[in-house]
C-alpha cells in the first residue's frame, strides 16, 4: 500500500476544484483583505509615519507590503485549521469508514490530507503575492529573476511547514470530535490568539512583556518572519521599526516550524491510531 496518500490527495483535490463558489471565495477573501483593510490602513499608517525619519540609505516599505506578509500567513492559518472539517464530515456521513476499513495505512490518510492542504495554501499564497504586487505591495522589489525564484520558494517552504502543523492539529481535533459546530467553535477560539498575538498586522516589540514572549514563540510569527525575509528582504524599515533578519534567525524560525509540525504530526498520528469509527 505504497500510494494510499495519493488516493486521499486525489480525492481532496477533486473536491477543492468542484465547489466553484467555495474555491473562488477562498481565493477572493485574502485579496479582499488586502484590497480593503490593507489599502485603508496603509493610507492612514503611511500618513502617520511620514513624520518619522528613516535613517539615511535605509530601505522603508509601506504598510501594505508589511501586512501583505501577514495576510499570506492569516490565509494559511485559516485554510489549514478549517481543513479538518472534511474529516469530521467524512467520519459522520462520508468516506471515513470506507477508508479506515481499507488496507490503507492510517498515516497515509494524514499525509494525503496534509498534501492537499499544502497545495491549497500554495495556490492561495501565490495569488495573494501576485495580487499584492498588482495593488502596490513591494514584494520582491528590485530582485533579479533568480532572487525572485529563490524568494518565492522560500516563502512557500515556510508556508508549507506552517500549514502542515495546523493541518495536523486540525485533523487531530476533527477525528476526536463529534459535531461540526463544536469543531467550528474550537477553531474560531484558536485562530483569535494565534492571529492577533503575532506580528501579522503590527510589530510585537512594543507589546507588554508577557504578550511579547508569547508572540515571539507563536508559529505565526515565525512564519511571518520567514515570509518577510524572502519577500521583502533581510533589512527594512516598516511602521518606524527596523527589521533586520540574519540567515541564522530565519533558519531558527524555520526549525521552530519544523518542530511545531513534528509535534502536531505525533498528536494526529496518536489520535488517528486510536480512532474508532463504527
Amino acid at each position: 500500500m505504497g500510494y494510499g496518500f495519493l488516493t486521499v490527495y486525489w480525492r481532496d483535490m477533486i473536491r477543492f476544484f468542484r465547489f466553484k463558489t467555495l474555491l473562488i471565495s477562498s481565493l477572493l477573501q485574502p485579496a479582499l483583505w488586502l484590497a480593503f483593510f490593507g489599502i485603508a490602513m496603509s493610507s492612514n499608517f503611511d500618513r502617520l509615519m511620514a513624520g518619522m525619519p528613516v535613517p539615511e540609505g535605509a530601505y522603508a516599505v509601506g504598510y501594505l507590503t508589511f501586512m501583505g506578509a501577514g495576510i499570506i500567513a492569516m490565509t494559511t492559518l485559516f485554510t489549514s485549521l478549517f481543513s479538518g472539517i472534511v474529516i469530521l464530515f467524512d467520519k459522520n456521513w462520508g468516506l471515513m469508514r470506507e477508508i479506515l476499513a481499507s488496507p490503507v495505512n492510517r498515516n497515509h490518510i494524514i499525509v494525503g490530507i496534509a498534501m492537499s492542504g499544502v497545495t491549497k495554501s500554495f495556490i492561495q499564497a501565490i495569488i495573494i503575492m501576485a495580487f499584492g504586487i498588482l495593488i502596490g505591495a513591494a514584494f520582491f522589489a528590485g530582485y533579479t529573476p533568480v532572487q525572485i525564484v529563490i524568494g518565492v520558494l522560500g516563502v512557500l517552504a515556510f508556508v508549507a511547514m506552517f500549514a502542515l502543523g495546523f493541518l495536523f492539529l486540525s485533523a487531530a481535533i476533527a477525528i476526536s470530535m463529534e459535531s461540526p459546530e463544536g469543531l467550528q467553535g474550537v477553531m474560531t477560539l484558536l485562530t483569535m490568539p494565534i492571529f492577533f498575538a503575532s506580528n501579522a498586522l503590527y510589530p510585537i516589540d512594543t507589546f507588554p512583556e508577557a504578550l511579547r514572549i508569547i508572540s515571539a514563540y507563536n508559529p505565526m510569527t515565525m512564519l511571518i518572519n520567514g515570509i518577510r525575509y524572502f519577500a521583502i528582504g533581510p533589512d527594512f524599515y516598516a511602521l518606524g521599526q527596523h527589521y533586520l533578519f540574519t540567515p541564522g534567525e530565519v533558519l531558527l524560525s524555520f526549525l521552530g516550524l519544523v518542530l511545531f509540525s513534528a509535534i502536531m504530526f505525533t498528536l494526529a498520528w496518536w489520535r488517528f491510531r486510536r480512532a474508532v469509527v463504527t
Partner: protein, 334 residues
C-alpha cells in the same frame, strides 16, 4: 444446524466465543458460528441485539476483545490487513461522498485497494452494468435515489472481488419494491460466487435471501439453521387461541398429545402442533368446551419467519419498547 468440523475446507468465516463489552454492557456475549463458502448467511435480530458490533469486529473496525474470528483463513487480530483485502463491506448508513460522482467513488475505492489502473477501470464498467447504474456514471452521488445509492455501495463493496461481502442492514429505509430488487442484486452477486454475510432485522429479508440464519438477541445466538429448519422448530402448524380463561386452557391443552409447546402472548395462547393443525383443532375445541372454557377467536397458520423471530426473541420489535414477556411451557426435553 450442524456445523462443519474444524479443518473443513468450505468454511470461510469461523467465529468462536466472541465477546464484546462497551463498559459494563455486553453487546456481544459469547457467540460462535461458521459460514460456508458461497452461502448467504444472515444475522437476524432486533435493533441493539449486537449484530452491528459483531460485524464491526469481523471487518476489523472494532478491535476484538475476547474470542477468535477468522475470515478466509486470516485472523482478524493478527492478520487484519489480509482480512481487509479479502472482504467487501456495505455499511449500515450510507457512506458516500455526496459531491463525488458514481465513477469517482468507485475509482477512489479501487485506488484505495491498490488495484492496477486497467483492472479497476474494467471492473467499474462491469459493476455499473451489474447494478444498472451505467447511465449514472457521471452523476454526483447526492443526485441518486436511496436505492441507487445502495446499489452503488454494493458495487463498491464488490470492486476488489472480495471473498466475502458484508452487508449491514442492506435495505434499511428502502421502499418495498426497491428492497425486492436489491435482494435480486444480492442473489446475483452470490450466484457469481461471493459469500454473503448480512445482518437484518427484517424477517422477510432473512427468509427470502439466506441459506442459513442465526437469530441473535441480547448478544447471544439463540438458534441457527436454514429458514425451513427454524420454522420446523415451531412444529408443523401454529394455532392461536383466545379464551375467557387462558390460564386453565393452557393447563388443559398441555395434556393434548399432538401439542408440542404452548406459549402465552399477551392475551393469546399459541400452540405448536406436530400434526396437521386442521385435524388437531376439533379435539382442542372439544377439550376446552368440555371444561367450560369459552373460545372467542381461533387462528390456524403455518409458522413463518415472523413467528420464529417472535418466539425466540420474545418481541416483534425492540423499538416498540415491549419487554420480552413470554412464558414457555416446554414438553419433553428440549
Amino acid at each position: 444446524m450442524e456445523q462443519p468440523g474444524p479443518g473443513s475446507d468450505d468454511t470461510i468465516i469461523r467465529v468462536e466465543n466472541l465477546e464484546h463489552l462497551y463498559g459494563d454492557f455486553r453487546a456481544v456475549d459469547g457467540i460462535s458460528f461458521t459460514v460456508k463458502k458461497g452461502e448467504i448467511f444472515s444475522f437476524l435480530g432486533p435493533n441493539g441485539a449486537g449484530k452491528s458490533t459483531a460485524i464491526n469486529i469481523l471487518i476489523t473496525l472494532l478491535s476484538l476483545q475476547k474470542g477468535t474470528a477468522t475470515i478466509a483463513g486470516y485472523d482478524v487480530t493478527t492478520d487484519a490487513q489480509k482480512v481487509r483485502e479479502s472482504i467487501g463491506i456495505v455499511f449500515q448508513d450510507i457512506t458516500l461522498d455526496r459531491d463525488m460522482t458514481v465513477w469517482e467513488l468507485l475509482e477512489f475505492h479501487g485506488r484505495l485497494y491498490d488495484m492496477p489502473v486497467k483492472e479497476r477501470r474494467e471492473r467499474i464498467d462491469e459493476l455499473l452494468i451489474l447494478v444498472q447504474l451505467e447511465a449514472k456514471r457521471n452523476e454526483l452521488s447526492k443526485r441518486l435515489s436511496g436505492g441507487m445509492k445502495r446499489r452503488l455501495e454494493i458495487a463498491r463493496g464488490l470492486m476488489t472481488r472480495p471473498k466475502v461481502l458484508f452487508l449491514d442492514e442492506p435495505t434499511i429505509g428502502l421502499d418495498p419494491q426497491t428492497r425486492m430488487r436489491m435482494w435480486e442484486y444480492i442473489k446475483n452477486v452470490n450466484r457469481e460466487g461471493t459469500t454473503i454475510f448480512l445482518t437484518t432485522h427484517y424477517m422477510d429479508e432473512a427468509d427470502q435471501l439466506s441459506d442459513r440464519i442465526s437469530i441473535i438477541d441480547h448478544g447471544k445466538i439463540i438458534i441457527s439453521g436454514t429458514s425451513d429448519e427454524l420454522k420446523n422448530t415451531l412444529g408443523r402448524d401454529l394455532i392461536y387461541l383466545d379464551t375467557d380463561n387462558n390460564g386453565n386452557a393452557m393447563k388443559l391443552l398441555e395434556q393434548v398429545p399432538s401439542v408440542r409447546e404452548i406459549t402465552a402472548k399477551g392475551n393469546r395462547i399459541a400452540l405448536m402442533v406436530n400434526e396437521d393443525g386442521t385435524k388437531v383443532l376439533p379435539g382442542i375445541i372439544d377439550t376446552l368446551r368440555n371444561a367450560g372454557i369459552e373460545i372467542s377467536t381461533i387462528n390456524l397458520k403455518k409458522p413463518t419467519m415472523d413467528d420464529v423471530f417472535v418466539f425466540y426473541t420474545g418481541s416483534e420489535l425492540r423499538d416498540e419498547g415491549q419487554a420480552p414477556a413470554r412464558q414457555i411451557f416446554l414438553r419433553g426435553g428440549r
